[in-house]
Amino acid sequence: MAKTTLDFKGLSCPMPIMKLAAAVKKGASGDLFEVVSDDAGFEPDIIAWAKETGHPMSKITKVGKDITVTITKK
């Protein structure tokens, strides 16, 4: 169970979702991906993405502009 931190600060839609999808695709089942984004649209995006793809998602934490969430590859 590897844990990867993905810093997507400064990237706009659709890149955070694209890069996360690419990273998750390469990983193994059970791997953790901690994602940080400061894109204002990231929160609804990640919720929709996780729901659609079925990868479990942790609670979203927000500090200032930064939105952090951990995805577990199903």
């Binding site: 706009s12 694209m18 993405w49």
Partner: protein, 179 residues
């Protein structure tokens, strides 16, 4: 109903359910416009769907073909009118006009500058990423013929087809958009 008939019915329903579930995974776009802003929208939606694990087909027709032209495309081997059209239309993502505020080509430069400052990905990058993720691009053979566009004038790794190719893909999609 006999047990066999029930079994048969279950099998039939399972088959239909499988088809419905498989169809959920598709998105079909028609890229008719060669405008920079509309092509951006098309490829952002395509990339988003690919990131969500969907199969995406983009049927590219008429002005949309400008987006997938090789910048090196020339009028060689084309007749007079085809040469004119080749000369007058943009080739590839770099010189597309915007649908609003084009101002004879100044508008797109302004938008590129503003988007660059806000670190928004380029249209070319979106096209390349979608290809990496396995998008299926189908160029409309009929509109290519009309404008004298040859297969080698368009980017590599794409397919060619007609209206049935689009409809076949669209009928298997839950979402089809005309851009």
């Amino acid at each position: 109903m006999t047990t066999d008939a029930v079994q048969e019915k279950i099998k039939e329903i399972e088959g239909r359910l499988e088809k419905v579930e498989a169809n959920r995974s598709n998105l079909t776009l028609v890229l008719f416009s060669g405008d920079f802003d509309k092509a951006m929208a098309a490829f952002i939606i395509a990339n988003g769907a690919l990131a969500m694990g969907k199969e995406v087909t983009i049927f590219v027709t008429f002005w949309g073909l400008d987006v997938i032209k090789k910048p090196s495309m020339t009028g060689a081997g084309k007749n007079f009118l085809e040469k004119m059209v080749t000369m007058m239309r943009p080739k590839g993502t770099a010189h597309l006009p915007t649908s609003k505020m084009n101002f004879a080509g100044i508008g797109p430069k302004l938008f590129h500058y503003m988007m660059g400052k806000k670190n928004i990905t380029t249209l070319q990058n979106l096209v390349d990423t979608s290809i990496e993720f396995g998008v299926k691009i189908v160029a409309c053979q009929m509109s290519m013929d009309v404008m004298g566009i040859k297969r080698e004038d368009l980017i590599d790794g794409i397919e060619f087809g007609g209206v049935a190719a689009f409809l076949g893909s669209s009928f298997n999609s839950t979402t089809s958009l005309f851009i």
